[in-house]
C-alpha cells in the first residue's frame, strides 16, 4: 500500500525542430560490448508527438534506454525495446506540454551486464511548426526575433526594445544578460495560446520561459504601449533568472514579478495607486508570505500581487538604491533564503522592511485566515470486543441512521396528530352547524 508517490509537477517534455524533418545519421558509436548504435533519427510535430529511432548492431543488450534532455542538465531515461535490431520510441506530447524553442538533447544507451555503450549526444530544437506559421527571423543585438505574416516591423522593434530592457535590467540587478534571447511574435490568440501551453491563464498577453531564454508575445493582447511594456517585463524575467540563478532556491515570486513590473516603465507609480486604493477601500493588502510562490487566481488578487511586488521593489530602490537590488540578486546566486537575500541587500530584516511597507500604506500586514474547524466523524465505530484496540475515547454521537430514524419518528407522530385533527375537523365540517357559524 502507501508506497511511492508520483511527483506532482508535470514533466516538461521536449520536441524537435518544428516542421522540418530533423534527420541525423551518425556513424556507429564506439562499442565496448561488441555492439553499437547507428542510423539515429528523430522527428517531431509540434503539439503532437516526437519520435526517435536508431539501429543496434551486435548482441542484444540487457536493456536499451533513450536519454532525453529538455534544456537542463537532467536527463529523462526512457526504456526502449529492441526489435530485430531496430529501436523506435514515440513520445505523445498530449501527455505533457513542451514550449516551442526547447532544445532537446538525446542519446541512446545500451547495457549489457556491467558494460554500458552510449551513442553520441545530439541536440535538436523543437520549434512551432504549425501550418500557416511561416516563420522568419532576424538577429537584433542580443535578441533574435521570430515573426510570421506581415509583422516584421513590430518584430524588429521588439528586438530593439529587448536590448534596451535587458540593459536596464542588467543595470538594476548588477548582472548582464548571460546569453542571447529569442522572441516569438504571434499574431492570433489561438496561435499564442497554443505556444504558451494549456497551463497559461487565458488573460495573459505574453510569457517568458527564462530557462529557455525565450519570450512569446501576442500582438492582439493590447495597444502598442502595452506590448512595449509587456516585452520589457518579460525580458527582465530572463535577466532576473540569470542574475539569481542557483541550484538551491527559487526567489520569491513577489520579487521576480516586482522587478519585472517595476522595469516596465522604471517606476511603480501606477502600482502604488492601485495598492493605495486596495489598502484604503477594498479588500486590504496581502501578506508577502502569500506572494512567495503562486499568485492568487482571481484577477483582483493577481493584479494586487504584481502591484505589491513592484511597490516593494520601488521602496527598496528608493531607500537603499539600485545597489541593494544587485546585492539581493547576488545573495540568491550564493544560495540565500528570501529573508537572507533582503538582509544582504538592504542591511535590514525583511520583517522591518515589510513593516515599513505596510505602514507607508497605513495598514498592517495581514495574518493568515483561521481555517474553519473540521468536524469529527459522526459515523459510529462498530462495537469492539477483545483485548485490543482502544477506539477513540471521545463520546460518539448517536449513529446517523438512528438520528434520522428518530427524526422521522417524531415527524410521524406530529403527522399523526395533524391527521387526527384534520379528521376531526372534516367530520365536524360534515356535522350540522349552527347558522352563521363558521371556523377558520
Amino acid at each position: 500500500m502507501g508506497r511511492l508517490s508520483r511527483v506532482t509537477a508535470p514533466l516538461l517534455l521536449g520536441g524537435l525542430l518544428g516542421g522540418l524533418l530533423a534527420v541525423l545519421v551518425v556513424a556507429p558509436a564506439p562499442s565496448r560490448a561488441g555492439g553499437g548504435f547507428a542510423d539515429l533519427h528523430a522527428d517531431a510535430t509540434f503539439g503532437v508527438d516526437m519520435t526517435f529511432s536508431a539501429t543496434w548492431t551486435g548482441a542484444p543488450p540487457d536493456r536499451v534506454e533513450l536519454l532525453l534532455g529538455f534544456g537542463g542538465e537532467e536527463r529523462l531515461v526512457v526504456p526502449v525495446e529492441l526489435v530485430s535490431g531496430q529501436l523506435d520510441y514515440r513520445r505523445d506530447l498530449a501527455d505533457g506540454y513542451v514550449p516551442p524553442n526547447t532544445p532537446v538533447a538525446y542519446r541512446w544507451r545500451a547495457i549489457i551486464g556491467a558494460e554500458v555503450t552510449v551513442s553520441p549526444e545530439r541536440s535538436l530544437l523543437y520549434d512551432d511548426d504549425r501550418p500557416g506559421l511561416d516563420w522568419r527571423q532576424a538577429r537584433i543585438g542580443s535578441a533574435t526575433v521570430h515573426w510570421y505574416d506581415a509583422n516584421e516591423t513590430i518584430a524588429r522593434r521588439f528586438g530593439d526594445l529587448a536590448g534596451d530592457a535587458a540593459d536596464a535590467a542588467a543595470d538594476l540587478l548588477g548582472h548582464p544578460l548571460a546569453e542571447p534571447i529569442d522572441i516569438f511574435v504571434y499574431d492570433a490568440r489561438e496561435d499564442f495560446q497554443g505556444a504558451v501551453g494549456p497551463g497559461a491563464r487565458e488573460w495573459i498577453g505574453a510569457a517568458a520561459y527564462p530557462h529557455l531564454r525565450t519570450v512569446y508575445m501576442w500582438l492582439e493582447a493590447g495597444s502598442t504601449a502595452y506590448l512595449d511594456t509587456t516585452l520589457a517585463h518579460e525580458v527582465t524575467h530572463v535577466v532576473f533568472h540569470d542574475a539569481t540563478a542557483n541550484p538551491f532556491h527559487e526567489p520569491a515570486s513577489w520579487l521576480n514579478e516586482g522587478v519585472a513590473t517595476w522595469s516596465e516603465v522604471g517606476n511603480a507609480a501606477t502600482e502604488r495607486d492601485l495598492v493605495s486604493l486596495e489598502a484604503r477601500s477594498r479588500g486590504g493588502l496581502m501578506a508577502f508570505a502569500a506572494l512567495t510562490d503562486q499568485f492568487p487566481i482571481d484577477a483582483r488578487g493577481a493584479n494586487l500581487a504584481y502591484a505589491q511586488g513592484a511597490t516593494m521593489v520601488d521602496l527598496i530602490i528608493h531607500d537603499f538604491g539600485t545597489d541593494a537590488m544587485a546585492a539581493i540578486a547576488e545573495a540568491y546566486r550564493f544560495g540565500a533564503t528570501d529573508e537572507d537575500a533582503v538582509l544582504a541587500g538592504t542591511g535590514v530584516s525583511f520583517q522591518a522592511l515589510r513593516d515599513e511597507y505596510f505602514a507607508a500604506f497605513g495598514v498592517t500586514e495581514p495574518d493568515p485566515v483561521e481555517p474553519l474547524p473540521l468536524g469529527r466523524s459522526d459515523v459510529p465505530i462498530p462495537p469492539q470486543a477483545g483485548v485490543e484496540p482502544a477506539p477513540s475515547a471521545e463520546p460518539q454521537p448517536a449513529p446517523r441512521e438512528s438520528q434520522d430514524a428518530a427524526w422521522w419518528l417524531i415527524i410521524g407522530f406530529v403527522a399523526l396528530g395533524v391527521v387526527f385533527v384534520a379528521t376531526v375537523v372534516v367530520r365536524s365540517r360534515r356535522a350540522p352547524r349552527p347558522a352563521g357559524g363558521g371556523e377558520r
Binding site: 510562490d293 495581514p366 459515523v379
Partner: protein, 522 residues
C-alpha cells in the same frame, strides 16, 4: 356476503399515519443512499486490485472499496472493522481475530475468515506478483513461501471456523493490528485470481464502504455499499474526479469539487485569502522523501562513502531553501506523527569528516568515485547535488524517469543513488523501517542488509509499552544513521481545500482518508 364493516373515524387517521411512516421510512433509506454527492479531485484511477497498489492514489481509492480486519479512524487510531476484536498470545506471536457475524461482500456473498486467509495468501503467492507482499511477511512461513522454500499450507494463517482467524507471526509484532488495516491486507471476493481483469468497473465486487458504480467520462462514480460492515456510509455517492479543466483551487471556487489536495505553492496565498482561506487545512502527511543508495555495488557498498554523502549535507538549510513551507527537513525515515514524543535529533553536517571518510574508503577525492548517477524522479536533487559537487568534488549525472518506468527499474537495477517519496503503509515506525530496509523487504531497493538492524527491529516489534517502543525505535534510528543506507531528506506537509460542512475528514492524513466516515453536516 360478508358485510363491509363500518369504517370508524380513527381508521383513516391510522392509515394516513402508516402511509406516512412508510413514506418516511423509504425517504430515510434514500437519504442515506443518496443525497448530496461528494466530489473529490483525486486524480487518475489506477488499479482496482489491492495486490497491485503502486502509489498513494491507489491507496486512497482502494481504502474506499475494500475492508480489512481493522481500519484506521480519522485521527489515526486503529479499530476493528471486519474483526470485532482479537486476542494476543502471551508471547505476542499469535493473534486470534474474531470476525463479526453476517459479513458480506458488496454483491451479498458471505464473507468469512476463509476469505481473509485466501486474500492474504493471494498477496503472498509469488504467482500473483503483488507489489507489496512484504507487508505480510511478518506472518510465520510467509517469507519462506515467497523465497520458494515453503508452501502456502505452511503459512501461519488458519481459519478454523467462519468467524475465527488465527495468525502466527515470525516474532512478536505489536503493530500487527495496525498492519492489517493496510489496503494490501484487505479482503477481496472469491472471484479474485491472478488474472489482470478479475475486477472491473462494470462488474465490481468489494468489501469497503463504497462500490464502483460506473465510469462517467473520466470520473469514477462510487456508490454506498449497503453490505458494508459499518452500514452504508452517510454520503451515498462519491464522484472520484480524475481531472478538472482548471486548477484545483479554481475548481473549488467554481464549486466543481468539494475536496482537493492543493500544492504548497497555492496554499501560501490561499492561507491569506479571505474567501478561500477558511477552507484551507494543513496536515503533516505520513510521507518521507529520501535518497537511497545501491548498497550492493561500489562505491555505496562502503558505509564510509554513504556516511560521507550524509554528513556533507546541511539538510535543515537545504530543505528550507528547496521546499519552503511545503516540507521540513527529515531527521528520520519515520515522519513526526509516528514519533509519540519528539523526533530524533539530526546529526550535524560535517563536510570535513565527510572528506575524511572518503579518504579512508580509498578515494582521495570525490572525483575518484567516478561519475555517480542520481535518479531524481521523486524529488528535487539540485541542492544536494550542488553540495556534493562542491564539498566532495563528486562528478554527478542527474537522471529521471516516468513514474511507471521508475517502478520497474527500482527492483531490477536501482540507480546508484535513487530518490523515493514514500507514503506510510500503516501508522507505525515499523511500516517505514521494516518495509524499506529489512533484508526481505520488496522495497529495500538498495539491497541493504544489516544483522544488527534486524535484531533491533525485532526488539522494537516486541515492545508494547509506548516508552519501551520509543527507546527501541530510537536504537533502530541510531543504527540507520550509523550505516546510512538512506538519507532522509524531507517530511511533507499536505494542504487541502475542504468544503464547509464536510465532517469526518479528520487530520486529512494522506493515505488514511476514509470517506466511509465522512458526512455532510446538513
Amino acid at each position: 356476503m360478508p358485510r363491509r364493516p363500518t369504517t370508524p373515524a380513527w381508521s383513516g387517521l391510522v392509515l394516513a399515519a402508516l402511509t406516512f411512516l412508510v413514506l418516511a421510512s423509504s425517504a430515510n433509506l434514500s437519504a442515506s443512499a443518496g443525497g448530496r454527492p461528494l466530489r473529490y479531485l483525486a486524480g487518475e484511477m489506477g488499479t482496482l486490485d489491492p495486490a497491485y497498489i503502486a502509489d498513494a492514489a491507489d491507496v486512497q481509492l482502494l481504502l474506499q472499496l475494500y475492508a480489512g480486519l481493522t481500519r484506521i479512524d480519522e485521527l489515526g487510531s486503529v479499530y476493528g472493522s471486519l474483526a470485532e476484536g482479537w486476542t494476543v498470545s502471551d508471547d505476542g506471536q499469535t493473534y486470534t481475530f474474531r470476525l463479526r457475524d453476517n459479513l458480506r461482500f458488496s454483491d451479498g456473498t458471505p464473507l468469512t475468515s476463509a476469505d481473509v486467509r485466501r486474500s492474504w495468501l493471494r498477496v503472498l503467492d509469488p504467482a500473483t506478483g503483488a507489489l507489496a507482499p512484504d507487508v505480510l511477511t511478518v506472518i510465520d512461513g510467509a517469507a519462506e513461501w515467497r523465497s520458494g522454500v515453503g508452501s502456502a499450507d505452511a503459512v501461519g494463517i488458519e481459519a478454523p471456523d467462519e468467524r475465527t482467524l488465527i495468525v502466527r507471526l515470525r516474532h512478536a509484532a505489536s503493530h500487527f493490528p495496525a498492519l492489517v488495516a493496510t489496503p494490501t491486507a484487505s479482503v477481496v471476493p472469491p472471484t479474485a485470481d491472478n488474472s489482470p481483469d478479475w475486477q472491473s468497473v462494470g462488474d465490481f465486487v468489494g468489501s469497503g464502504p463504497y462500490r464502483v458504480d460506473r465510469l462517467d467520462g473520466t470520473t469514477l462514480v462510487l456508490t454506498a455499499n449497503s453490505e458494508y460492515v459499518a452500514g452504508p456510509p452517510p454520503i451515498g455517492q462519491i464522484d472520484w474526479l480524475a481531472e478538472v479543466d482548471t486548477s484545483g483551487p479554481e475548481a473549488f471556487v467554481a464549486e466543481e469539487v468539494d475536496l482537493v489536495n492543493v500544492f504548497a505553492g497555492d496554499a501560501s496565498w490561499i492561507a491569506y485569502d479571505a474567501s478561500l482561506g477558511p477552507y484551507l487545512h494543513q496536515a503533516a502527511a505520513l510521507t518521507v522523501q529520501y535518497f537511497g543508495f545501491d548498497t550492493t555495488r561500489p562505491p555505496f557498498d562502503d558505509t564510509r562513502v554513504r556516511r560521507a554523502f550524509l554528513l556533507a549535507l546541511d539538510r535543515p538549510r537545504l530543505v528550507e531553501l528547496a521546499e519552503g513551507s511545503a516540507a521540513t527537513a527529515a531527521t528520520s525515515l519515520v515522519p513526526p506523527a509516528l514519533w509519540p514524543d519528539s523526533v530524533p535529533e539530526d546529526e550535524a553536517p560535517d563536510p570535513d569528516e565527510a572528506r575524511r571518510l572518503l579518504r579512508d574508503a580509498g578515494y582521495a577525492s570525490g572525483a575518484d568515485l567516478g561519475q555517480i548517477t542520481i535518479n531524481a524522479t521523486s524529488l528535487n536533487v539540485a541542492p544536494a547535488v550542488a553540495v556534493w559537487r562542491e564539498e566532495l568534488g563528486v562528478d554527478i549525472a542527474i537522471e529521471s524517469m516516468d513514474f511507471t518506468d521508475f517502478l520497474q527499474v527500482l527492483p531490477e537495477r536501482p540507480p546508484q543513488v535513487f530518490t523515493i517519496n514514500w507514503i506510510t503503509d500503516y501508522p507505525s515506525p515499523y511500516a517505514l523501517y521494516g518495509l524499506l530496509l529489512l533484508p526481505d523487504a520488496a522495497s529495500n531497493y538498495g539491497g541493504w542488509t544489516d544483522a544488527e538492524f534486524v535484531r533491533l527491529m525485532e526488539d522494537a516489534a516486541r515492545a508494547t509499552d509506548p516508552g519501551e517502543q520509543r527507546s527501541a525505535y530510537l536504537a533502530v534510528e541510531a543504527e540507520v544513521d550509523a550505516q546510512a543506507p538512506v538519507i532522509p531528506w524531507s517530511w511533507d506537509v499536505s494542504h487541502w481545500l475542504v468544503r464547509d460542512g464536510l465532517n469526518g475528514v479528520g487530520n486529512l492524513t494522506v493515505g488514511l482518508l476514509d470517506l466511509g466516515r465522512v458526512s455532510w453536516a446538513d
